[in-house]
């Protein structure tokens, strides 16, 4: 008999035991493990998907931010550019005005220098002219001229105005009737006496007390002078020369200002035309 029922039953039991054992040790754990792995992979994929999404959002946010920054940069650059332009213009204007001022100052300085030069020139010219006249007179001064001067001085003393006389008298009283005579030449005694006599005639009240003191003074150019108590009566060329000097200066100033007045209209005319 090929079929042994005893063995068959044994084998069925054996097979069932094997099914049970393999189910416990093989299928169960492996299937569980595979499912677990599958779940984990899915979880990881979902996680990765989430991360990717997050990253994409981040990238989008960053690119948006980048664009904003770019715009801001552009704005700032524009502002900076316009500010620089303004600054440049301001600086240019400043520089221009400064240059103008400097030029004006320079021109003014030049003008002043010119003027002072002209003034100095005028002064020199007048001084030179006067000293020329003075030299001439000094060279020409001799006895005859002295005579003439004396004579002229005498007449001047004689013809003193009432007011001047009173002033002189007052000066005499202040100085205890001491009268100083200053002359550029060596004066004769007779002439001094003559002068004294004349003065005594003018002031008869104080004739006795009157005292004439002679002193030579070469500063007085061919002139004579009496002085008492700060009041003086004099004749000399120096006074004439001083007058002449002031006349010459006046004349030169006038011509100078005329020159300046004459220049400006000429410039205006050229500009107008």
């Amino acid at each position: 008999m090929i079929i042994d029922w005893y063995t068959i039953i044994f084998q069925i039991i054996n097979f069932l035991i094997l099914v049970f054992l393999l189910r416990k040790f093989l299928y169960g754990p492996i299937v569980k493990m595979m499912e677990e792995r599958e779940r984990k992979i899915i979880e990881r994929e979902e996680e990765a998907e989430a991360f990717k999404k997050e990253a994409e959002e981040e990238v989008e946010a960053y690119s948006r931010k980048n664009v904003e920054l770019e715009q801001q940069k552009e704005e700032i650059m524009d502002k900076a550019r316009s500010a620089a332009e303004e600054e440049k213009n301001e600086l240019l204007n400043e520089a221009r005005s400064e240059v103008d001022q400097t030029r004006r100052r320079w021109e003014e300085a030049l003008e002043r220098e010119k003027e002072s030069f002209i003034v100095e020139l005028r002064r020199r010219i007048s001084l030179q002219a006067c000293s020329l006249a003075r030299h001439c007179l000094e060279d020409l001064a001799d006895a005859r001229l002295e005579e003439l001067i004396w004579k002229h001085f005498m007449t001047k003393v004689d013809e003193l105005a009432e007011e001047d006389r009173r002033e002189l008298e007052k000066g005499l009283k202040d100085d205890q009737y001491k009268l100083n005579l200053l002359s550029a030449f060596d004066a004769d005694d007779s002439k001094i006496k003559d002068l004294k006599k004349r003065l005594e005639e003018i002031y008869p009240d104080s004739a006795e007390e009157l005292e004439l003191k002679y002193k030579k003074d070469s500063e007085l150019i061919c002139g004579l002078e009496i002085e008492a108590g700060g009041y003086r009566v004099s004749w000399n060329i120096d006074s004439y020369l001083e007058g002449m000097e002031s006349d010459i200066l006046k004349e030169l100033n006038q011509t100078g200002s005329e020159e300046e007045d004459g220049e400006e209209p000429a410039v205006d005319q050229s500009e107008d035309s």
């Binding site: 090929i2 079929i3 042994d4 029922w5 005893y6 063995t7 068959i8 039953i9 044994f10 084998q11 069925i12 054996n14 097979f15 069932l16 035991i17 094997l18 099914v19 054992l21 393999l22 189910r23 040790f25 093989l26 299928y27 754990p29 492996i30 299937v31 493990m33 595979m34 677990e36 792995r37 984990k40």
Partner: protein, 231 residues
Amino acid sequence: MTINPDEIILFQMGWFKINATIFYTWLIIIFMTLGSWLVTRKMTSEGPLSRWQNLFEVVIEVINKQIREVSRQDPGPYLPFVGTLFLYIAISNILAIVPGYVPPTGSLSTTAALAISVFIAVPAFGIAARGVAKYFKQYLQPTFFMLPFNIIGELSRTLALAVRLYGNVMSGTVIVAILITITPLIFPIVMQVLGLLTGLIQAYIFAILAMVYIASASRVQQEMEQKREQQ
């Protein structure tokens, strides 16, 4: 020369006897259980897999895939039964290359035991899936008169399962035995290689047929699809 391993008695005490079929079956059970336990106790669900775990997972995945293709259902409930059928037959056939080993599948008792297991499993799975009434109603399809033929068909396919496996494995062993007497060198090796191939194919055929029978008994999904179409 003994063809039937049932007749090789290794131990006997009264009615209780251990023959080669039972002994080698136990060896296979121990071997498979121990191997499974050694591999699955160190399993991880992440990181690099051990080679054995990888191999086992591939095997289980292939079995699952086959079950899914045949049944068009979730392989979960069928895996332990069908998978064990395949693995047990395959291993007991492959081990035939070990000298001194007698494959238990070469015994008609073993194959009959497996066929009887399938014979019982088919209605068990069918009833579990569709309920008792619906399951037994199919024996009356298409008419009441078909009942005897249905029953005969059920029995005959069980017999066919048993004999097919037995014949193939036993013949392989017998052929090798005969060839050794004729040409002791080289040629038996070629036949043994062929035996490994046929052993695997038989394991596959047995498991697939069992699955087909079970699936045909528990076509819940297909029925539901038909109902949906009718609606």
